[in-house]
């Protein structure tokens, strides 16, 4: 900092370390619990890892728990399909839509722009029943398309790309036109490569968004084959008269955290960029 104040520096690091402990504590205990047997969890409060790690994770992945008919392995697959589907789907159609709105003049252009904007004000939570009915009418319940399609049209990605495209110098476009390149050529050869960093930033945000979906899969999947991991974890808790398989639930929770956290840590720079830019 500006001057040398040892005590303040000590306090700084102390608070930060305390902060990290506070944040990490629930995750640590969850991990520890996932390495013990159920009896050990219900009879004591383990603070150190136990010896059942492989066994618990194997059971979670291949058998699942309680009345939830799907294995954690299957549910992870479903979550992954949904997350990647939403991520790539959203990036794809947003790129196209932003490109159209920025680089073309056509009737209804502003109308479409505002229509897309409105979706920001219509999160799924305010239209639960009617959206469910639409999906049911289209026979998309209990399907991957039902999990993915309704979620790929929201505005944030489109706006991000639009903003980025606006900063692309006009000279590039002019040069391309002079060279005889059509709009599609321009898009693929020039615009897309330039958008790489925005795409990467969005990839992180959208993957987390897609993986962590809860309300939507809850509404439209009743078939165990299509359960996503987060729904499965909740259903494992829902045992009513039985005993919740805490060690499996914790193992499943840890597994649920790994992909998005992994993405955030290894693409941290893009993640930070994505967060600060999409909130504009």
């Amino acid at each position: 900092m500006v001057e040398h104040r040892p005590w303040l520096t000590f306090l700084t690091h102390a608070i930060l370390i305390l902060g990290i402990l506070l944040i990490a504590f629930p995750i640590y205990t969850a991990f520890v619990a996932s390495t013990h047997s159920l009896d050990e969890i219900t009879s004591s409060f383990p603070l150190l890892p136990g010896r059942h790690l492989i066994e618990n994770y194997r059971q979670a992945l291949t058998v699942g728990s309680g009345e939830v008919g799907a294995t954690v392995g299957r549910m992870m697959l479903n979550s992954a399909i949904m997350a990647f589907g939403i991520t790539f789907g959203k990036i794809f159609i947003s790129l196209l839509a932003a490109y159209a709105i920025v680089y073309f003049r056509f009737r209804f252009r502003m109308f479409f722009f505002w229509m897309i904007f409105i979706t920001l004000m219509l999160p799924v939570e305010v239209r639960i029943l009617p959206t469910y009915k639409v999906v049911a009418d289209l026979h998309m319940l209990d399907s991957y398309s039902g999990l993915i399609f309704p979620l790929i049209a929201s505005a944030t990605a489109t706006f991000l790309f639009r903003q980025f495209f606006m900063t692309v110098p006009d000279e590039l476009c002019e040069a391309a036109r002079i060279d005889g390149a059509g709009p599609i050529r321009f898009f693929i050869d020039i615009l897309l490569p330039m958008s790489r960093t925005s795409i990467a930033a969005l990839f992180v945000i959208l993957f987390i968004y897609g993986w962590n979906q809860y309300l939507w899969p809850l509404l439209i999947t009743t078939d165990e084959k299509y359960y996503t991991l987060l729904i499965g974890i909740k259903r494992m808790l829902d045992v009513g008269e039985g005993q919740a398989d805490w060690q499996i639930i914790m193992a499943a929770s840890i597994l649920a955290m790994i992909p998005p956290v992994f993405v955030v840590i290894f693409m941290q720079k893009q993640f930070v960029r994505g967060m600060t830019e999409t909130e504009k």
Binding site: G66, E67, V68, G69, Y132, A136, T222, E241, G242, Q243
Partner: protein, 439 residues
Amino acid sequence: MKRCKWMLIVAIFVLVIFPASVMAEPVVVNWWFAHGGRLGEKVQSIVANFNSMQNKYKVVATYKGNYHDTMTAGIAAFRSKNPPHILQVFEVGTATMMAAKGAIKPVYEVMAASGQPWSPDAYLSTVTGYYTTPDGKMLSLPFNSSTPVLYYNVDAFKKAGLDPNKPPKTWSEVADYARKLVKAGSPAGFSTAWISWIHVENFSAWHNVPIGTKSNGFGGLDTEFVINSPLHVKHIQQLADWQKEKIFIYGGRRNKGNAKFSAGEVAMYTESSAGYAGFKKTCKFEFRTSMLPYWSGEGGAPQNTIIGGASLWVMAGHSQKEYDGVATFFNYLSSPAVQADWHQFTGYLPITTDAYYLTKGQGVYEKKPGMETALKQMTLNKPTANSRGLRFGNFVQMRAIMYDTLEAIFVGKKTAKQGLDDAVVAGNKLLRKFEKANK
């Protein structure tokens, strides 16, 4: 010559038998149900047996989630003009299903139109009463029904010097026993599951007092709740007061409290008879069941208890051929062997007298006396207008109101009288709303 013979046989096979079997494509009947886990597997095996016994109809059973999910899915499917043939709906949804006259086909109509022999008298009236019109016409087929009983911890009884062969019959006895159990080291006396179903709805039927006017709603949509009667107030207030002596502790909603019994936190527990299988797995001590306690000298106790669980509704909009399939399947489900097997596997009540006697004849009840408790309790007396069941619209929401009310009473926020009075006002609002929407 021999070759000709063989060719003839092959020709006959190819030209006659093969097309004949193809022509007899089984009619598909879709059944949406709400049992997961072991129960779900049992449902599928019943269906598989039916399908393998004949090839005219094929029942396809699909698990749609819990009762809420299944009912919502069924309704959504109806609205998309694509309903299943059979839908399993929990008992509190009965009024909603009944009022949806264009969406359902009453079971008695389905059975009559199919021309198959079928007798409503074969069914246990206390089980079917819930799903029948006041003049005896069956609207839906009971499938899994249970009734609340008292479970008690034999080991804890012995430790407290109580005779396990003499479980408490009245609530006063329950309190006495509870005090002795607590003295002998039990953390608390008793707890309960499904508190509204057991301590308000069944409580009323067991004491032959009404839950609502118009025969608990059977007689008309203009019914009103009367669960704030002096007897109800007395019972709920008593439960609230007993908490101070740890005679009673509240276990949470639905059957979250089951862990308290199996962990030995309470020595007595009122829960559905269907909880038997679960307790068998989780309780490491000996336990037995007995009939629900009652207040001696109050109302007409003991009368009979009412059922909980679900029934099978037939949805409208299908062809007569498909309904014939439904009728055939229902007859199969009601057959003594199938019912007896389902009853013994799940602990749910058998729906026909034949199944009851079959199970009795097999000596099952001697080995598991607890299973007969529920039946005996239900058939103790012929049902009265107060004890056939209930039929209230929007009852799912009423159950939620009851949970809120009872929880407020148990933490001392309201007295029993205040809470029940408020619940009656809120509940009647719901009933009026339902009445209006279904005029």
